[in-house]
Symmetry: none
Subunit: 135 residues, 4 copies
DNA sequence: GTGGTCTAGACCACC
DNA sequence: GTGGTCTAGACCACG
């Protein structure tokens, strides 16, 4: 479980961590009942304050991805949280809008946007398959 | 030129304004040498402080979309700013990544993401064509 | 007497005019007792409001370069105003400072600044000589 | 890092601050990764409103001199921004022109202008060398 | 503590 | 009328 944070990213550090953990779960790197590093451990590894990692874990717990057992540790939850598709689509819409808008502002063709998206989808699936197989 | 701000949007107001003006320029609603509403006027209409609109205009000016003439007003610039395609693609990549990643996390098929993107592309182009024709 | 104004210049229009008239006097284009165009005439030629030209003439009159005879017109004054050299140098110092500072910030060699200054000095003197001869 | 603002300067306060910080970076007073005073702190020291210092920092950030890390502070950027020499020279030309023109209007010899420029160049370099050595 | 944003005023120069 | 600057507050997210 490798987490990378970039201080220059516009997303706050705790969200960068939470997102990467969530992606790891979705991609199969982390499976239900797998134990996560303690937030102190991870904080040490990332050279940041434990409070920031704690904030990320809290966020993941609120969203149902993980749960903590007092005295035992933090574990991946069994049921990956599912939101109504309508809600999800409406959350994703502004992101899609921004993508096409900025691409159009920058003079890109729509096909180039599709290419870009395809690359990222492939990267995601590739990772996922790869992880499903090994380890 | 209708600007809408939504307090629920996580983007700050001045960026919401700047983005909408930039889109209006890219979409043909606003053409070179068109005069923008004065920042005070727009502030009055949006019921926000003029300084916030000013900040949006400052942002657009330093990005090359608009320019100001002392005592005259603010005008759409002739040359739409163009960035190297490579840079632009690298800026867009994290957005695309987030889109496919969150969609996958939420259990959406890739085709559903493409549908969503297509809708937004259509919305953008529709607006553009519509405005290219009228007025 | 050709005056050029550029709205995009950071100097206000009335100062652009005043400076060019003053340079014309220093360069010999305009000689003592020469009559200037009326401010309305010049305003018409420059396609700006007469008030702006008036403001330029007022400034020049305050500085002693020109004077007006009621009902006759505006004329170049006999004595070009002379300020104490110390005062003048102190006025020029911030300009010199800005020149070397911005050049240094931009990575220019001092010799390149001197070259630039030489070019402008040559341009000024060239104009001056040329005008002393003709007309 | 001592900043001085002079109300008599025709440049707005935020530009005075930005210029001095930029000069400090160019002159070696401030080095890459050095932390700047927080804008509030500097505002307190200068007895002006924080927003004005913030405006100066924003200007420096968009020009590439500095960057900010959320919650950490503001730091000198690694790469000093470089503009094409041609552009820079054309920006400097009006300043040079004004210098020789006003000097000539005031009756100064060209050599006196060169002396003045030399003094300012020496002041700038002296500062720079001094700071390169100490601390 | 840091930066980021916003409000509700004010005064100025310019056209 | 326009834009440009400044003040004196405020609240927020982040680490």
């Amino acid at each position: 479980m490798n987490i990378y944070i970039s201080p220059s990213d516009d997303a706050p550090i705790y969200r960068q961590i939470a997102r990467q953990v969530a992606e790891a779960i979705a991609g199969g790197h982390l499976r239900p009942d797998d134990q996560l590093q303690s937030h102190r451990e991870l904080a040490l590894a990332l050279v940041i304050t434990p409070l920031t990692v704690k904030k990320a874990y809290d966020l993941l717990e609120r969203e149902g991805y993980i749960h903590t057992l007092r005295g035992k540790g933090t574990f991946v939850s069994a049921r990956p949280p599912r939101r109504p598709k309508r809600d999800l689509l409406e959350d994703l819409r502004p992101i899609a809008r921004r993508l096409v808008s900025e691409a159009h502002l920058g003079g890109l063709e729509y096909s180039e946007v599709l290419d870009l998206l395809g690359e990222e989808q492939h990267r995601l699936l590739g990772d996922s398959l790869e992880n499903g197989r090994k380890k």
